[in-house]
């Protein structure tokens, strides 16, 4: 299968220099990781293993000290270390943050409109000098949002489209964050603990969203602590500990690995 993202020998030290002393241990120590297209890949590991740091580096919020990140959405391979986060997103990499991160001053609809990533119509005065195109685009974006919500059979969200996002529950805000990734025309999405704070009862909509992503050809890479979820949906697993990938492979193999059972699953 084609690899959409290839990470080679990635190092990151928040101390600045690469000194492997007892005090300044790098957060990432030579991470190698491949994400295959149209696949669900998970990254598991204890707290402080460097999982979120890895996502932040892929996204461009942090720059690596050493190593390569190759991104290949189509035929052409792009090296994406040290590219600004907004440019990385425009290349087709979406991100779900830990916790909820919505625009609290805006309504649900406005949040989803921003998620549609129609960059062209956001120029100042665009709705004046090109109002027909603007109105067309706005209408098609609204239709897209409503069609998607209808498809997900989420009546609650449809009814609260014009409410402020802050009035919604945590789980609903989280679901809006996830839905946003379906609207933005991404090739690869990085999810940081998507199930945290969501009840097992709400997993249904989760499953629907993940299926929608698969249908849309979006590759998913996620950090997850919920092993039930990983067992159920994930095909490939990477186990990370103190900045190193220790075990990788098929989900079943990884989860039945004696060292992971002893070190991680016993606590988790």
């Amino acid at each position: 299968m084609k690899k959409i993202l290839e990470i080679k020998d990635l190092w990151k030290n928040f101390g600045g220099e690469l000194i492997t002393s007892t005090e300044r241990i790098p957060v990432l120590m030579g991470v190698d990781l491949d994400i295959e297209e149209n696949n669900l890949t998970a990254l598991i590991g204890g707290n402080g293993a460097g999982k979120t740091t890895l996502l932040n580096i892929i996204n461009g919020f942090l720059s690596p000290d050493k190593g390569k990140i190759n991104y290949q959405p189509k035929e052409k391979q792009i090296l994406i270390n040290n590219i600004k986060p907004n440019k990385v997103t425009r290349l087709g990499i979406g991100r779900l943050f830990q916790g909820t991160r919505l625009f609290g001053n805006l309504s649900v609809r406005e949040n989803l409109l921003i998620a549609c990533n129609e960059f062209g119509i956001e120029k100042p005065f665009y709705n004046l000098y090109s109002f027909r195109r603007y109105n067309e685009k706005m209408k098609s974006m609204n239709n897209r949002i409503e069609a998607l919500l209808n498809k997900l059979e989420s009546k609650e969200l449809l009814n609260s489209l014009n409410k402020n996002v802050k009035t919604l529950s945590y789980a609903q805000q989280r679901i809006i964050n996830l839905i946003s990734l379906l609207l933005g025309d991404y090739n690869l999405v990085l999810l940081d603990e998507p199930t945290s704070g969501i009840n097992t009862d709400d997993w249904e909509i989760f499953e629907v969203i993940i299926n929608e992503m698969k249908l849309a050809g979006i590759t998913i890479f996620l950090i997850e602590h919920n092993m039930e979820f990983v067992r159920k949906y994930v095909q490939t697993c990477y186990y990370m500990s103190s900045g190193k990938i220790l075990v990788s492979g098929n989900t079943n193999e990884v989860l039945n690995h004696p060292m992971i059972k002893k070190e991680y699953l016993a606590i988790c």
Binding site: F61, K84, G104, E110, E122, P124, Y126, N127, L128
Partner: protein, 290 residues
């Protein structure tokens, strides 16, 4: 009496232009700027250049004032937008003081503390039939309505939505592919360019300008006008500006000695500012924790 009302009306409209153009920057994008009077002043001096030296009519002068103000704002914005919250305020404050000192000390060009006089409103045909002040008032109203329309359209477009999102969460905006710096620079430039309209109207109406009309107090005055409205809707800025202009006049009407009235004006504004800071304080100078 009519002249008195027209006079107040003209001032009110000029301050509405100032408040509405600052509103987008301060309220919608949450970029508190204490340099608005600097752009107001720069625009006024460029107006003087256009009318006294170059003798240009209304529209070319407006375009020149907007362009120069916009360009300067662009240069100022590039380094300042890297700063957040209070630090951005300090950067704009510094700009305010620099502009004031230049206007005050560059005597050969700006006339220093003597200012520039003899700025004339371009001759308009109707001015001979009705009073010049009335014609000015009409032009003032037309410009104010156009400006309010433009800023209304800006605020309720996708551009405005992004600005509103900007004050919530910059990291998330970056993560959905928006260049937050570009948006901050745009809003700063637009706001400063349109302040040029107020400069033009002010300079031609007063026919005389001096640096003291554009000092830090003026910036604070504009900022209070914007914040007084207490709402993100544009009418907040309009009402705030009206209040600020009308308050001294109202105090003049209620038959109290001038000395007390002037002090009372300051006291009322001071108390109002305290109330704003007390109730809306954490929104006024907020940096989102990351």
């Amino acid at each position: 009496m009519l002249n008195y009302i027209l006079n107040i009306g003209n001032f009110a409209l000029i301050y509405i232009i100032l408040a509405v153009s600052s509103h987008l920057l301060v309220r919608v994008a949450n970029q508190i700027s204490l340099g608005q009077a600097a752009f107001f002043g720069l625009g006024a001096y460029i107006t003087a250049l256009c009318t006294v030296v170059l003798d240009l009519p209304l529209i070319p002068s407006l375009i020149i004032v907007m362009t120069i103000n916009g360009l300067l704002a662009y240069l100022i914005a590039i380094p300042s937008v890297k700063l957040k919250g209070d630090y951005f305020v300090i950067a704009t404050l510094a700009f305010q003081f620099i502009v004031y000192s230049v206007l005050y000390n560059w005597k050969s060009v700006t006339g220093g503390s003597d200012g520039i006089s003899g700025i004339t409103f371009p001759n308009i045909f109707f001015a001979k039939i009705v009073s010049e002040q009335f014609v000015f008032f009409i032009i003032n109203i037309i410009l104010t309505i156009i400006l309010m329309f433009l800023f209304f359209k800006l605020q309720y477009s996708m551009f405005g939505k992004i600005l509103k999102a900007l004050q919530d969460d910059e990291i998330s905006l970056l993560a959905v592919g928006r260049d937050t710096k570009k948006f901050k620079i745009s809003v700063f430039v637009i706001s400063s360019a349109f302040i040029g309209w107020a400069s033009y109207l002010y300079a031609t109406y007063m026919t005389y300008i001096d640096p003291n009309s554009f000092n830090i107090h003026e910036s604070i005055f504009i900022l209070i006008a914007v914040l007084l409205g207490g709402t993100e809707k544009m009418r907040g800025a309009v009402l705030g500006a009206l209040f600020m202009v009308l308050l001294p006049e109202i105090l003049r009407f209620i038959q109290i000695p001038d000395m007390i009235a002037a002090a009372l004006n300051q006291i009322i504004l001071g108390v109002l500012l305290l109330v704003i800071v007390f109730f809306r304080g954490n929104r006024m100078f907020s940096i989102k924790e990351e």
